[in-house]
Symmetry: C2
Subunit: 330 residues, 2 copies
DNA sequence: CTGAAAGCGCTTACAG
DNA sequence: CTGAAAGCGCTTACAG
């Protein structure tokens, strides 16, 4: 009826609770005879260690906190899946939560996870000052930053170069002859949005032969709904319509394509669309995009967390040309 | 440096630790004078309750376990998002994990979450015997089943009628004149796959005027990769190709459409494709599908968990006709 | 190598 | 209404 406790196992094995605990936590310190006796009792009773008690006493739990912007964005879930793969093999349980890209909620969440004595936290940071993160780290909780370009001392991070990625995207459009390009960005409060804007601008500024324009429109968030609204806005307010739209993520791009289709504007014949991330759905659109190795980076972030190694991994994203981009129509 | 403890707050407020705890847990039992003094100390020190200690002592934590088949499937993440919305408003933290639709891993996970003294578990059950679930519930952990058609006594569940949904899908194809229909199903070990097959068969068996065929192919899992392989198999092995493909979920449908496109088979002119779930990407394809109200059901499941009410909610899914289905070509 | 004991930070009857 | 004390189930020095 009740779950067995350490003392139940101890009684059954005819040893003390301390010895059972030793078998569990430092088996080498127990004689083979006692160890096998205890192990039998453990399996016979189907013992599961009380995680709360263990966490309280030892100061550490089998929980790893993962805090991302948005759990419905495949970008983050691909990453979380990579993290989970690394974590599960050591028996850790992932506690996933969303910050909704809000600094307040991020702070609340970090404290809450710390209070659970999590083994560590994998975080997509919203705030770039990292004040709360530092606080938590100072008190002894490991944090690894996912998708963060800041490389604070003592805190590991993994990231992709967003500036380079956006540059790649816009360069691709320029090479196709586009000279009036719209950029459907995410909210500027998010670092990724700022960096991608910087990259887009840099590519534009490189154009020498002719003049190139970048029309920037900021979406409310990185969702398809926001992308749709953004494209609707372009269609209504920008005349003539740009011949290409660079979107700050694939979800925005998907939304933009829905809007274009609703207005019978053909992609890529009249307007080219390019995204960012390469979420699984991008392939089926099929959407030209800038690929980020999300699962790989997630795996790496979890690995850094477990090993305790401190380092800053940066990856350069790659361009994936599919069928949503083509030559400029004029 | 160290996080403040209850006793630090007590000292600062000039009261005992018990009184601070009372302010936190049963404020009405404390006089207004003491209460406000304690509350000030609480905020001044930025106190965060130690969750592990609280869980150990009270037997309950602020954690809610969520165990789904696959965290990269938008179907589950839309649901999780609904759960999170309900949970976050009461200050609960969601611990999301994947069972990979495997009964073993499900059992392991349930025990692990129980050991964390979670407030409850929201589970997409793999095993239909529910033995481990019952065990956990007997010991006092609340469980609400998500997407489960079994309605065990004492355990709440929310679900959509998969049989009816699949019937709806195939009926739609039949009404369009299709008589050779392929069904790209998920693994039969999963209840949803079995139910959707039953629904598809039922629709087929209703046809009176002419004969209708259902060619069933079981995919490895509910992913786009599996869907692609499934459609490739159909293209290679079934001649003539069926004029319509019903897919057990949208991911499989998306994969199938990629395969068809790679073979220059036009959708819906030569082959109609219909999915199941209505994940956000479906709209942008645009894929005809059977809609499940995932976020709503997730919210409801979390609500049942928190309220402790036991009931079984069933929803009837709805058909969403978009542009991936059309009249049979012959 | 093993056992008895202290203690992690809370919560909760209970005495005053 | 408040405080002192016991105890949740573990882990970990420490004595034997």
């Amino acid at each position: 009826m009740m779950r067995p406790r350490l003392r139940d196992v101890a009684r059954r094995a005819g040893v003390s609770a301390g010895t059972v605990s030793n078998v569990l936590n430092r088996p080498d310190a127990v004689s083979p005879k006692f160890r096998s006796r205890v192990e039998r009792a453990l399996t016979e009773l189907n013992y599961v260690r009380d995680a709360a008690a263990g966490a309280l006493r030892s100061g550490i739990s089998q929980l790893v906190g993962v805090a991302v912007f948005d759990i419905t964005n495949p970008f983050f879930m691909e990453a979380a899946s990579g993290m989970d793969q690394r974590l599960a093999r050591e028996g850790f349980v992932m506690a996933l939560a969303s910050t909704h890209a809000d600094a307040q909620q991020e702070a609340r969440l970090l404290r809450e996870l710390e209070a659970q004595h999590v083994r560590g936290i994998l975080l997509t940071p919203v705030a770039s000052d990292l004040a709360v993160v530092r606080e938590v780290v100072t008190r002894g909780t490991r944090v690894v930053l996912y998708d963060s370009m800041t490389s604070p001392r003592g805190i590991s991070s993994v990231a992709v170069d967003d500036v380079a990625g956006a540059e790649l995207a816009v360069q691709h459009l320029l090479e196709l002859g586009h000279r009036r390009i719209a950029f459907l960005n995410g909210p500027r409060s998010v670092r990724q949005a700022r960096d991608r804007l910087a990259g887009a601008r840099r590519a534009i500024s490189r154009v020498e032969s002719a003049r190139a324009d970048l029309i920037v429109r900021e979406a409310q968030d990185f969702t398809a709904t926001a992308g749709r609204a953004g494209a609707d806005w372009l269609i209504e307010n920008v005349d003539p319509l740009p011949t290409a739209i660079f979107c700050a993520d694939d979800l925005i791009a998907i939304g933009a394509m829905v809007a274009l289709r609703d207005h019978q504007i053909r992609v890529p014949e009249r307007v080219s669309v390019i995204g960012f991330d390469d979420i699984p759905a991008a392939r089926s659109i099929p959407l030209t995009t800038v690929r980020q190795p999300m699962a790989e980076l997630g795996w790496l972030a979890a690995d850094l967390l477990l090993s305790g190694r401190v380092c800053h991994e940066k990856r350069v994203p790659t361009l994936l040309v599919r069928q949503s981009t083509g030559p400029a129509p004029y």
